[in-house]
Amino acid sequence: MNIFLNVDVPILLMVILTSFCCSLLGSFLVLRRQAMMVDALSHVVLLGIVLAFLLTGTIEAFTMVLGALCTSLLAIFLIGWIERFGGMDTGTAMGVVFTIFFALGLVLLEVFVGSRVHLDAQHALYGALETIIWVTPRSWESLLDGGVWMTLPRQIKTLGVMSIFVVLFVVFFYRALKVTSFDRDYARCMGISLFLVDSVLLVMVTVVVVGSFEAVGVILVMALFICPAAAARMLTDRLVLYVVLSGVLGVLSGVLGYICAAWLPLWLGGTQTLATAGMIAVIAGVIQLVMMIFAPRYGILAQKSRSFLEKKG
């Protein structure tokens, strides 16, 4: 039993796939100022998943996603209605809806689901990466056999499929996403259906949140959506570069985060590992901080030194 191969490799795969999907989609959300949508959706999907489980009795990926999509749609409608009829801003409406949905999900979870399945409140909050294990491959050579790859844990296979969809989505909808992110009126003139683009983006984000939820939990999904994109935003103005950079920084955060969580304590003399999901969020945040300060043109240091030089000369 090769520890690295059987334990670390599947977790790393999970981390890489999750962070890739999240940061890629996140780049568009940050651009469209919809970062809070991830906050709302990540809380709302819990209710969807719990309801799906209660109605069908299974934790099949498909039923979970379906449940999550239904509740997300309902949530979006409710938020809109509260905004319109209540005369309140989006933030308040979101806050009302996602806390109520999350609380309802929690209560249903505790009261009806309990110990029947490996789904509990703590798990929902910070995921269960540490429980992923891939027992089949005995050695590195066995990876050459295609059949061994088929025995990957269910979550990794789901994420793999999801990553393909995310890439396809970004590639096919690239132009629509670009136009609708920067100039919605022009998009209307061009005949691009704003409703379609917004809806598909919403669906993709929900699917990714559900898939990642098991890995990193509700709150930390946000870190992977927002922080790498924010960091990339500080580095470039060019859209293609920005999207790709978000993905790269996301994967970097994930991998570095895992390394720190697993090995940092050992390097510092401790014996136990730290929460992986939390560490990934922290690393993502640190990368964002570094970029915010040191980014070559838009970073704070660059801005300050430029204004200082301008005053001088």
């Binding site: 919809q34 806050g95 927002i226 939390g278 969020a281 945040g285």
Partner: protein
């Protein structure tokens, strides 16, 4: 059932009663304070702040551990830790928003998740230490009324009453700052200091509510009563009163249900708030959906005849 009712009507002995009082006054103060948050559109900011409190609580716990005192019993230190990182969180969001090209929603989201992630890391570290009270620490995430000690409940009660008193004393000024900051400043109040005071009150409520409702859902206590009240009235003072009543009611009922059903308190209190919100959304006398719809029908038929 009888046992539940007797609990509700203060039949449970001093410990239980003080817990009920604490949770109810927390609800009232949350409702009252929340009106101003909603009016100033700062609802999601409070989400970032509440999540930022987790690392503070953990650091407080670790500090006590290093100094050799058991963390489970020293609520006030944890509270201070929460306040400090809460303030750091607020400042971080403002710094990101003002100093970089990133927008406010991005700032809030990144601060929220990063600080919370740090808290999770510290929490996982604490779980590896052999110290008592560490199990109670995770109750700050979702709240657990059953884990509340008498001293903690008393602190919550006193602090909440304090917040309510301050809000009532400064009601007029707070309302002015929300609607006409310029006038408020012209009559001599410093807008910045009023802002600080409001932020401070918000921080206090958030940190004190950690063990009752938990930090994931504490913002519900601020936002939902105010939003519910908004559907019932357009007058700010009425909104404040109603909001306080809704908050207190849900705190009260939610605590009872939580103790009785052994469910995390945060969830139940927010569900009760949700019920109240739903009722106001439909039937609220000023903006309730059904009321408006009926009013619309009435107008329509009146014109026809």
């Amino acid at each position: 059932m009888l046992e539940f009712l007797s609990l509700l009507f203060f039949g449970g002995g001093y410990n239980t009663n003080i817990v009920f009082l604490g949770a109810s006054t927390l609800g009232i103060s949350g409702g009252v304070m929340g009106v101003f948050l909603v009016l100033r559109k700062r609802a999601l900011m409070s989400d970032a702040v509440s999540h930022a409190m987790l690392p503070g609580v953990c650091v407080g716990f670790l500090l006590l551990y290093i100094l050799g005192i058991s963390g489970g019993r020293d609520f006030t230190v944890l509270l201070f830790g929460a306040l400090i990182t809460g303030i750091l969180g607020t400042l971080s969001v403002q710094w990101i928003r003002d100093q970089t090209r990133l927008t406010e929603d991005t700032a809030i989201g990144s601060v929220l998740s990063t600080f919370f992630g740090l808290g999770m890391v510290l929490l996982s570290f604490i779980q590896t230490l052999s110290v008592e009270g560490k199990a109670g620490l995770s109750s700050v995430l979702l709240g657990q009324i059953a884990a509340l000690t008498r001293m903690e409940a008393e602190v919550i009660f006193v602090v909440s009453v304090g917040v309510c008193v301050v809000c009532v004393l400064f009601l007029r000024v707070f309302v002015l700052v929300c609607f006409d900051r310029g006038y408020c400043e012209s009559i001599g109040w410093s807008g910045r200091w009023i802002d600080f005071m409001m932020m401070g009150l918000m921080l206090v409520i958030l940190s004190v509510g950690l063990k009752t409702v938990g930090l994931v859902l504490i913002i519900a206590l601020l936002i939902i009563p105010a939003a519910s009240a908004r559907f019932c009235t357009d007058d700010v003072v009425t909104m404040v009163i109603l909001s306080g009543i809704f908050g207190g009611l849900s705190g009260y009922v939610g605590t009872g249900l939580s103790a009785f059903l052994s469910v995390p308190t945060g969830g139940i209190i927010v569900v009760s708030l949700g019920v109240i919100f739903f009722v106001c959304f439909l039937f609220g006398t000023r903006r309730g959906v059904l009321v408006r719809f009926l009013g619309f029908l009435y107008e329509y038929y009146r014109r026809r005849v």
